[in-house]
């Protein structure tokens, strides 16, 4: 069931048309935070091709969230650049952001909002007219099995339900690129199964999905590419491949 209520926005359509070959290109990306974090990323270069599920694995503080925020344009790189189908994220931030669904981590939610209000706000903020927003919210609530919690306050939800609501929020404007920062963290088995189904669905519909995880075992989704970040440096693809093979041989990853 793929959100029949909403037509993609003109911006999203434009970006989708361009999203055929390379989805995201990251070149020489460096990010230095003001103290105490220091240098978070050292010269990271990688490509994420259109329609693939791309996983970025690394310990806490490895720089995974920073990479996602730089792709989103929430942070500006100290050096290097990110392009999404040749659109420079820094220069054409608004256009790029319209095509991204992002779930940040750690994750809280507006206090005082009801579940449907939360999704409705983001639907409207992404430019959906009120009627379409309502239909879209209803469809997402149904898809994520949250219809029963429609009028519940978000602060009263369990962490797992909040995460699912967060993923629903990231999908509210039907973006072609999904960036999910540690989406499985704190999810129970049922939540994981539901999320896996949703992401597989989205993948089949051509979405490019980038997700991060601190451990290989958390990657329930079948990933096309897995890269490993260590202390802000991207491990070479062959080394990452070797680590993944070792992990697979001892049953750490599916």
């Amino acid at each position: 069931m793929q959100h029949p209520a909403t037509e993609p926005s003109a911006w999203t359509r434009r970006l989708r048309e361009k999203t055929r070959s390379v989805a995201v290109r990251i070149e020489g990306l460096c990010k230095q935070y003001d103290s105490p974090a220091g240098v978070a990323l050292h010269n990271v270069t990688m490509e994420i091709t259109a329609g693939e599920v791309f996983a970025l694995v690394g310990a806490d503080g490895a720089g995974k969230s920073t990479v996602l925020k730089l792709i989103c344009g929430l942070l500006t790189p100290t050096a290097g650049r990110v392009t999404i189908n040749n659109l420079d994220v820094e220069r054409e931030r608004d256009e790029v952001q319209a095509a991204i669904g992002y779930l940040g981590s750690p994750f809280g939610m507006y206090s005082g909002a009801l579940v449907w209000e939360y999704l409705d706000y983001f639907a409207r903020a992404h430019g959906l007219p009120p009627d379409s927003a309502s239909a879209r919210v209803a469809a997402l609530l149904d898809r994520f099995r949250l219809t029963g919690a429609r009028d519940a306050r978000v602060e009263g939800l369990s962490r797992a339900t909040k995460l699912l609501l967060g993923v629903a929020r990231a999908l509210v404007h039907d973006p072609p690129l999904l960036l999910l920062d540690e989406p499985t963290l704190g999810l129970d088995a049922r939540g994981r199964a539901l999320l896996k189904r949703v992401l597989t669905d989205e993948h089949h519909h051509g979405k490019t999905i980038v997700l991060t995880s601190p451990t290989l075992t958390d990657l329930d989704v079948n990933c096309d590419t897995v890269r490993i970040l260590e202390h802000g440096r991207l491990l070479p693809a062959d080394r990452a491949e070797k680590i993944l093979q070792e992990a697979a041989s001892i049953g750490e990853i599916p």
Partner: protein
Amino acid sequence: MNRLIENPELLRHVRAELRPRRMLATFTACAVLSGALGAWAYGGAGDAAALHYLRLVVVLQALLLGVGGGIACLFAVRRDGDANEFDHERMTMLPAWELAVGKLLGAPLSAYFAALCLVPSALVGVFAGGFSPWALLATWLAVLVGSFATHALALLIAVRVRGAATHTAALWLVAAIGLSTVRVPALRMGPLNPIVAAADIGQPLPPDVFFGLRIPHLLLLVLIYAGVAAWLLLAVIRNLKRDPQAHELFSPLQALLLLLCAALVLLGVMDWPARGALPGQRALLALGAASAWLLGLALLHGPELARRRASRLVEPAGWFEVLWPAPAVAAATAIAGVAGVVTATFAASDKADYSPWVGLFSVAYLGLWLARDLIYLQWVRLTALPRPLQSGVLMLLGFYALGSLTLGLFSAPAPATAIVHPTALARLGAGTWTWAWLLPLLVQAGAAAGFAYLRLRQLATLGAPIT
């Protein structure tokens, strides 16, 4: 108007802040408070009871809107930031101005509603005392526009400050509101704080004088606060969707224009006839330099912004980054200072001990002094010191204190004191001018050049590629 009503950010706040149970609780609290105030006012104030009651209610409204709304704004954005939702908002297609207006009007909605609940009580006070409802409306307008400015300031602070610093910022905000209740004797206008106007409701306020024109005090307050709110909102809109590490309060041109606007207001309300040319010009320079110093402090670039700028220092305007924020601040001080000298020369009747040339010297000295301090502060801001800006300001204050003490012990002449800090200008007039005054001018220029050299070296290091 439709754009405002359909603003998703405003709608989100309306939904969260104005739930029926919450509104009922606020309404009940306001009704009880009105009753208690009425009992207190009518119990002890005799014939003046209605006036007393009216003032209490209007001051309470002003406090709710200004202080309560400001703090609500500050913490609402902080809460969203802590929950990471601020990042998600920045990812939406809402333009920065729409997001900012939604927050400005939405975050303090509870305070607006509480103030609205007190409107019937204020009307009771007006009609029971037989006062003019227009005076009440004018006071409300001034309080409302003043609150917009306070909320915009709170929003700007909230966008730039994170975590526990928000509590300190809230204290500064309340202190700033308190400070604005003070009447500055050099100016021909009443106190800047509309809460004072609210406390004076029911009695005729002396008009303010702006460039010789007599303007009702409340009208001038409305104009000033509308301008302040617009400038603050501009800063919020500029930075709301940016990387927090790359925040830049204003562009150089905007900073220059803002300081010139502030100087224009000061120039217009300066009490030239009563103070005379020399004290008038001194007061104008002191107020202008204080505001320029504070704005300069807010304009300092953080490490990330400086790093990014440093990597592009090959551009011809590289010197601008080396001297930042001194060029904008010193230029505004120079333009406003020269305008002050011209006004003092032609508008003031008492010109005792006044010379336009000495006035121009004071302007040049202050410009260089500001440049020295701000280039130093920008340099220290990017050093590896713990809490570099706070450390830099403390070291500067220590330098002033020690310098003053030492110079005081040796009963140093005014030009020698001027080497350390500009309060020595209070002793400079046409009669006390000597060529020795050029020495502090040269020292300020030399110190500014020295710090600029340090900045140049610092930027070369910052601009180097990360390894």
